[in-house]
Symmetry: C2
Subunit: 266 residues, 2 copies
């Protein structure tokens, strides 16, 4: 039995998130579409394991999945190309490789890099609308960075977790929260952490934007973190701006402690 | 009577091109959607003049249009915002300003900057698929640049013009044809010219890609140009990779000679 690891890119627009939902057509979820394509390739049932359960509308350039197959003849590259021919528009396999038996993309992950993309401009964008959050007023990036730095390190992120999160606790470690100018009118919020509670990156982004607009003091993010109270915080930024850029397995990050469950799309 | 000039961005995917087509719903063409939105704003009939008639599937970040209105009270910025609220997804006004009476966005243009975006990667992209042409084999950018340089200057571009082009002749001037690496796996073909015959940029892109793949010698583009024969050339690259980036009116470019009709989307 082989274990294969795939890197997946998808356009979250029009999709109902990563996770299979029995009441939806297979092609409306990434997992459903992928399992269907993999089952056609392998001619046997496939159940995927994934690094992250991204929500409806959230994008990924570096989602990682793994599964088992007894098809020994198909080389990885041919496998990836064949699956791409079977996938619906908006979902592609970007790489395929052999993995150790039973390898688990979430449990083995040392961390994840999410990027939240803002379009900061008096006017919206048409060509990139699906992957940004449009903010028409200028933002104070320095204040946002000051606020973001207060979240670095290991904390209880209870105040940055949405209802319905099934993780046992919200202790997580953030290695990077940085707000940097992107191309054209884009502003990128780069968030790198060992793991994330539900909607954590979108709640961070929502609060940082309020700081950038001057509606919230940078220091208030430290107060919010200490409060452990979601109701003290700002809005959850919309899914469209969020992208799972990369799942990190190598020694750029330290190994994760045991029993640190990871739930939800950040 | 005021003349207003608008800069328009649109996602060509799902649109049937710029020009109004009486047999199609208004929202399937950029002109149709814009005229409908402007008519609702002004409460009078509107007929647009445009810098370029982009084809179905072609994008624009800097299309320029002009029209007349007798509504004196609406300031430009409020006008643009109001129109954006009325436009369908995929079309936005990026700027609005007063223009001299009767100003014509095509006749006054000194040139246009088109970008053709290739996605050069063994695997496709999902998030940006709508705005690239995927080529799975590596390309020789040096050979492409060598070939592109043979097109610079004033020539009869008959061999780079598609059937159905209504221009009287194909004499045009190219100021820049440059192939440069873009972000991630993108390669950009930057084309700057005084005006363009129909499908000119897409035919240039198709030929340059054949050069990059080694299927055509760089020097053959000079031969093709001299032949004035479209049937000697390579394929027309697909619409998805093409974007009208900017229409140039200022003295970055010399004024155009008179009677130089400009037809089609490049």
């Amino acid at each position: 039995l082989r274990t294969l690891r795939l890197i997946i890119e998808y356009n979250g627009k029009g999709l109902s998130g990563f996770q299979l939902q029995s009441q939806l057509p297979a092609d409306k979820t990434v997992q459903g579409a992928l399992e269907k394509a993999l089952e056609r390739m392998t001619q046997h049932p496939v159940r995927l394991r994934a690094a992250s359960r991204t929500d409806a509308g959230v994008h990924a350039r570096g989602q990682v999945v793994a599964f088992e197959t007894d098809r020994d003849r198909i080389p990885c590259e041919g496998f990836a190309r064949g699956v791409n021919d079977l996938l619906p528009e908006g979902i592609v396999v970007r790489a395929a490789e052999e993995a150790p038996p039973g390898w688990h993309p979430r449990r083995q992950a040392r961390g994840k890099h999410y990027r939240y993309v803002l379009w900061v401009d008096p006017y919206p964008t048409a060509i990139d609308a699906h992957r940004v959050w449009w903010r028409s007023q200028p933002l104070d990036l320095e204040a946002m960075n000051q606020a973001g730095s207060l979240l670095l390190g290991t904390h209880d992120f209870e105040a940055f977790r949405s209802a319905g999160c099934s993780a046992h606790h919200a202790m997580r470690t953030l290695y990077r929260v940085e707000v940097v100018p992107g191309p054209r009118s884009e502003v990128h919020i780069e968030v790198l952490g060992n793991a994330f509670v539900r909607n954590m990156v979108r709640i961070i982004a929502g609060n940082l934007v309020e700081v950038g607009q001057g509606r919230r003091a940078p220091e208030s993010l430290g107060v919010l973190l200490a409060s452990r109270d979601r109701t003290q915080g700002g809005m959850t930024a919309p899914a469209s701006g969020l992208c799972l850029e990369e799942v990190i397995y190598d020694d750029r990050l330290p190994p994760r402690p045991k029993n640190n469950a990871d739930h939800g799309p950040g």
